[in-house]
Amino acid sequence: MSATSTSVNGNGKYKVIGTRPIRPDGVDKVTGRALYGIDMNLTGMLYGQILRSPHPHARIRGIDTSKAAALEGVRAVVTAKDLPPAGADEVISLVEGTFRLTHLRSNILAGDKVLYQGHSVAAVAATSLHIAEEALRLIEVDYEILPDVVDVVAAMQEDAPLLHDDLTTQEFGEDSGKKSNIASHIQFKLGDLEKGFAESDIIVEEEFNTASVHQGYIESHNATAEWKTDGQLTVWTSTQGAFGVQKQTAGILGIPVSKVKVVPMEIGGGFGGKIPVYLAPQAALLSKLTGRAVKIVMTRTDVFQSTGPTPASYVKVKLGADKTGKLLAAEANIAFAAGAFPGSPIGAGAVCVFSCYDIPNGLVNGYDVVLNKPRSAAYRAPGSTQVNFAVETLVDEIAEKLGMDPIEIRLLNAAEEGMRRVDGAVYPRIGCRETLEQARAHEHYQTPLTGPHRGRGIATGFWMNAGLKSTVTASVNEDGTVNLMEGSTDIGGSRASIAMQFAEVLGLPAEAINPMVGDTSSVGYTELTGGSRVTFATGWAAYEAANEVKRILITKAALYWEAKVEEVRFEDGDFIHASDPEKRLSFKELASHLVDLGGPVVGTGAVDPDSGVGGSFTTCLADVEVDPETGKVKILRFTMVQDAGTAIHPSYVEGQMQGGSAQGIGWALNEEYFYSEGRMKNASFLDYRMPTCLDLPMIETVIVEVPHPQHPFGVRGVGEASIVPPPAAIANAIYDAVGVRLRDLPMRPDRIFSACLEKQAATVAT
């Protein structure tokens, strides 16, 4: 087994931070006790199922649900007619963007048109899952087939079939008035592009394409809804944000948020894909009609065909450098396949494309394009991986042409504090350079790779660090433990990282904190688990809550000693009487006296931290072996270096790095939505081939700690940036191994094999 991960200990400054306690929810999750959304079971519950469109683009001329409704065991059928109408200009603002209510509603139940294979058309509730499935087959939908488009470049053409009659291109705050599938265009400019290219000694320009890929969480989407006669709706679901589900569900159903309580169950993976709602409104409508709780769980096929792939992309990049390797000019044209409704992360793609380098002259044009695929959703560093693949391949080509080491050229151009990005923002303190230096110094990079058809590749990536609202409430128990209520659903161990920041402030062991995730009625407003923000922002809220507890406990200690508050200080986990050092109470001792020290000790942290335009950088090293007979790539060795700011729980930081790496490797080599005639042909885990443990080596990790300049503990969000560089690193490694440049993801065996054959043919011809 290869070397274990290297790690750190909070820069040596902390007692709890940097240690590796067992997560508080661990035992429940290894014994099968933890209750996920799919595990909901309520008395008298009905089972719902969704009828989905078999066509990528069609007009609905009529729906006849009478036969389905008449089937024994069927209790209700709903269609778009059961949703309230929405005005064309009504919008819902969520943290991930602003969406037209008409779009959100028609994604839940299609109105006059279906816009992708898998588009929800009707929903049924029955006494058993099997009866609900039978009922779907009895619903008759009269479709008028329309021409479809699933390719992003084709969808941008003037003669492409238009998905929405009323969609016009938005130009960063201005409506162009032009009807198009291009929902928005964004442009960034910096310096003088023409001058930059004119001064360049070397210019590379290429086009890249990436396929739609899915987040691939193992737990399917689900929702259980109970709409009581008093008008109060409760939804139990797996989500990255209970308050986001509340807002979306209320908006789609046209009811106030106060009427919707959302209980976030344990969540079986999200990666950005469990931010939108897909089932809660239908389950709610069915519950309202039947007076029973209704549970809907998606089939895996539905998960693929109806929920958030990350956008497929077309990316064209041109880079210019002088002969020392200094990058002088950069231009990118980026088109993201938003799916059936606008809202791809094109802004993030445009920001991230040149984010790793100090390039004085730049131009970026980004396009958000609708087409006949499911509405895309966020996927780990949304938009960054697609553009990184292009840029990091081209940087490698420049290094090769100049005979430079691929890390040296990156270090020469590395983004640093004070650098102005192409979008105009200036970086605060960041750790781009440090990840490169650590990669260069790593034994992996220092060990030569030998053997035929083997190659090494490197790439650097970036993702931002969202702030956003978070609430934590802490209540001190008389036995010296603390109940911590927080609003961030825990996908990867965040209960632990939040509790540890709380414990650090008060000098408590991590085990003394009992963190719980609250529902929308029991915890303060908290935005989604996403954007690499939970350990950063909810951890910050825990820090604030702990400080409030500390302040209150100081008053309690003063009361206990009948001293003045100013006479009590908190030091090293103890409350101390300043003028009488004999008087010293540990947290636990003081807690045991709280019974007659007045009101309960409750601290709250409610934050909305400004998030820096800095974030987290990653550099990865990939060694591959290409089978020249088949084009199959084997990953021999893989190392991920990431700036975590401060690693709160290093094991879970490593876990994020390893998980992101594995997803990046899957994206690089074999994952894709395989389309034929507008339909996805590989909508199962068998055919949509995610990496298994047999496909991967151990994933070595190096945590770099360049503290976030604002966060009280220097935390940087680490959840996303690790997915960004693997595709480019692997592409560069394949080139190093067999001398072919792959410009389309995934780099399937047949593509590599064909490229090798072409190279051979070209060699023979010359």
């Binding site: 099968g32 996920y36 151990m698």
Partner: protein
């Protein structure tokens, strides 16, 4: 007209009777009828391993087994892995190694790993990876899972 079948089986050492429809899978009966939701559903077509159980010593995707086939069988599920005295070494090592993130694939991995150690108490890293290749995890990149299984094998060997 009777539409249900009577099944008598043993689950985690306990004799259990249930009625099921002929079309119901073992997974469905475990989760929806017997309320043993520790066994998870990830795909319902045998491709993710989240629903792994051990039936008469053989690792199975319970979504691919009809409930009626459980008649007179001996089935182990995640609910039976720990004892009142404590966690199984695999469970303990999963916790110590931070081998789970979202945790939804974890019961399946634990049952698969249990089955591996039952068959091969001293597996190499490659043997672990080969045996667990039928289980999908999307969070961890498998690194910490493989380490935990190897660590647990050491413990099981010592205590055997």
């Amino acid at each position: 007209m009777s539409r249900k079948l009577y099944v008598n089986t043993t689950i985690n050492g306990e004799e259990i009777e249930f009625l099921c429809e002929p079309r119901q899978s073992l997974l469905e009966v475990l989760r929806d009828d017997l309320e043993m939701t520790g066994t998870k559903e990830g795909c319902n077509d045998g491709n993710c391993g989240a629903c792994n159980v051990i039936m008469d010593g053989v690792l199975m995707n319970s979504c691919l087994v009809l409930a009626a086939e459980a008649q007179n069988r001996n089935i182990s599920t995640i609910e039976g892995l720990a004892t009142p005295q404590g966690l199984h070494p695999l469970q303990q090592k999963f916790l110590e190694n931070a081998s789970l993130q979202c945790g939804v694939c974890t019961p399946g991995f634990l049952m698969a790993a249990k089955s591996l150690l039952d068959h091969n108490p001293d597996p190499t890293e490659h043997e672990v990876r080969h045996w667990l290749a039928g289980n999908l995890c999307r969070c961890t990149g498998y690194d910490k899972i493989v380490r935990a299984v190897c660590d647990a094998a050491d413990v099981v060997k010592e205590t055997a």
